[in-house]
């Protein structure tokens, strides 16, 4: 029988919450073989194959159509799958993995409360320091698009793959764009979010790949899955 391929996060809290979410809907997902293997089995529904992937790989696998469905953060879809709208459907937010992608600046910048303020200080900063404001982030695409939508152009992205929030203190950047699930990390690093600097409210999301093979068998399996999960799964 035709099977759908479902990509799930391979580790951590996101994996545990995802498995719990499916279990609550009568689908038990268990790893097959030893724990280092990235194969898993779904019990409680026919025609569903599960592969474990890193959450960061899932956007690409969805975009290329190698998996029919996948669970990952909405932020990762929007950041890592350029032009995703044509190829990926954000079908259902799963209610966990909440994280806000925000723009934050040093809290003692009391003259900067909005994106427009950030833009206004960029010019004087450039004159004083010889370079533009550096915005550290790993979310390059989302940051560019958001800054453009706010009419802010006088900045430079600085790549940061970890401990981004320490950047301003270390003088490797002036401001950051990063995920925050609470304000605690920001406060601990003497940062504050900008009032209109919320780029995205992300959560774990069940996604469909439009690029995958969708024959009659796959569509029938998708309809069964949608009924079991109680969510609309529309290509």
């Amino acid at each position: 029988m035709t099977a759908l391929t479902l990509g799930l996060p391979s580790k951590g809290r996101l994996q545990a919450d995802t498995i719990g979410w499916f279990a609550a809907r009568g689908i038990d997902i268990a790893r097959t073989g030893d724990a280092r293997q990235y194969a898993a089995r779904a019990r409680g529904i026919d025609g569903l194959e599960v592969v474990m992937l890193s959450a960061g790989e899932i956007p690409r696998e969805l975009a290329s159509g190698r998996i029919h469905l996948g669970v990952t953060g909405e932020d990762l879809i929007r950041e890592r799958a350029p032009g995703w709208q044509d190829r990926i459907v954000l079908a259902a937010g799963l209610g966990f993995g909440h994280a806000d992608l925000i723009v934050a600046v040093p809290a003692f910048w009391v003259d900067v409360e909005t994106m427009a303020d950030l833009d206004e200080v960029a010019e004087a900063f450039r004159a004083r320091h010889g370079h533009g404001l550096r915005i550290a982030t790993k979310y390059h695409n989302l940051t560019r698009a958001f800054f453009q939508s706010k009419g802010v152009a006088d900045y430079r992205l600085a790549d940061s793959q970890g401990a981004t929030e320490a950047g301003p203190k270390n003088q490797s950047c002036e401001a950051i764009v990063d995920i925050t699930s609470s304000g605690g990390t920001l406060r601990a690093n003497h940062l504050k979010p900008l009032a209109d600097g919320l780029i995205l409210q992300s959560q774990a999301t069940l996604c469909l790949s439009r690029a995958a093979e969708w024959g009659d068998g796959e569509r029938a399996a998708l309809a069964r899955l949608a009924e079991r999960l109680g969510v609309a799964l529309t290509l």
Binding site: P106, D111, E113, A124
Partner: protein, 391 residues
């Protein structure tokens, strides 16, 4: 984008480049070449914001000894004009270049990130109108020599808007902000609306900051608010924050922009049509508004006359007063030529006047500078039938 160009495609692009090289050389433009890679720190900030945002930067460990970022050449003008200036700005020169440039495109865009430019720079010419007409007609000749087919021309003159902003009575700070945001039309429009409506109700923090800036011992009072908010971290220092707070306090006291002034700016920027009519309309608008930008409009008129002398039906050239607001390089005459039946293609050619940039590149005054370039790959694509075309 094809990774390898071969056979007929290779021959066609080589032939197009050779044709343009010969044409530009015959017009007195000396061929120059530039490096593909340069150290980002020294050059990248010289670019306007759009190109700067699209430049490919990556960590260096360069052979020159610097450890800073390297940048893939996003255009030729900055390196060519900078090299010219290194040997003295007080001389006229004409340069021709060709080769690939590299620009990041938006996610999902089909625009190429690497493409060829073949262009010219005309520096230090005594007569601006003649230089502009010469550059424009030489680019037109180039497109004809490549058999580009039917094209659409658009022209503009950024000098008119800048002259208008300079001539209108307004606080210097407001003029500066409008000039700075001129390149982002939506933000510019928002700013004008804010200036007319008067200051919005400040946040509690902003109100405190302004009160501190207006009170006795402003630096101390502002520093107290800042240190209460958080530890001083990063490169930006407390005196920079205090300076901005003072500027905010001053701006809050500025009078609202008269509605007639806002109307004149927006109306002048919306003038479109054949260049001859547009010139007459701009003369009438500014006369009605009692604002004198005669020198800028005279330059526009002189350019049209020079173009007529060069055989162009200049009065009929399509003109849009807002054209070029995405091209931060330029400050005067600006033009773009597209394939008439191929809106899917990037512009085939474009250019304009960029005197002010020479100062950023090290000149002690704005040196007359006009340049333009052709995109041979786009031209070759335009020659193909629409259905078969690709880029």
């Amino acid at each position: 984008m094809n990774a390898v160009r071969q056979g007929e495609d290779h021959a066609a692009i080589e032939s197009a480049l050779a044709t343009l090289a010969a044409l530009f050389a015959a017009a007195g433009y000396a061929p120059v070449t530039t490096a593909h890679l340069f150290e980002a720190e020294t050059l990248i900030d010289l670019y306007g914001e759009d190109i700067r945002g699209r430049a490919f930067l990556f960590p260096g460990a360069s052979s020159a000894g610097g450890g800073g970022d390297l940048c893939l050449r996003p255009d030729f003008t900055v390196p060519v004009v900078r090299a010219h200036g290194a040997n003295g700005w007080d001389r006229a020169a004409r340069y021709a270049y060709q080769g690939p440039v590299f620009r990041r495109q938006d996610p999902g865009s089909t625009r190429p990130m690497e493409y060829l430019q073949a262009g010219i720079e005309n520096l230090g010419a005594a007569d601006p109108a003649e230089a502009e007409a010469q550059v424009f007609t030489l680019i037109q000749e180039g497109l004809e020599a490549l058999d580009a087919g039917p094209v659409a021309v658009m022209t503009g003159d950024l000098g008119i808007a800048f002259a208008l902003l300079d001539a209108l009575a307004m606080p210097a700070r407001r003029r500066h902000r409008l000039r700075r945001h001129f390149w982002r039309p939506r933000r510019f429009h928002q700013l004008i609306e804010e200036f007319v409506a008067g200051p919005a109700a400040p946040t509690a923090l902003r109100a405190r900051l302004i009160a501190a800036a207006n009170g006795p011992d402003a630096p101390g009072a502002i520093a107290a608010i800042a240190s209460e908010a958080g530890d001083p971290i990063g490169l930006r220092e407390i005196d920079e924050i205090a300076a901005r707070a003072v500027a905010l306090a001053e701006a809050a006291a500025d009078p609202a922009m008269p509605a007639e002034q806002a109307g004149l700016i927006e109306t002048a920027l919306s003038v479109t049509g054949p260049a001859g009519n547009a010139l007459a309309r701009l003369r009438a608008l500014t006369a009605e508004g009692s604002v004198d930008i005669t020198p800028a409009l005279d330059r526009f008129e002189a350019r049209l006359a020079a173009l007529e002398r060069a055989g162009v039906d200049a009065a009929a050239l399509p003109f849009d007063a807002a054209f070029g607001r995405n091209l931060e390089y330029y400050e005067g005459f600006v033009f773009e030529i597209t394939a008439e039946h191929r809106p899917d293609l990037p512009p085939l050619a474009g250019g304009g006047r960029y005197d002010a940039m020479t100062r950023r590149l090290g000149a002690d005054r704005a040196v007359p500078a006009v340049g333009a370039m052709i995109r041979p790959e786009a031209v070759l694509a335009a020659r193909k039938l629409p259905a078969a075309g690709n880029q």
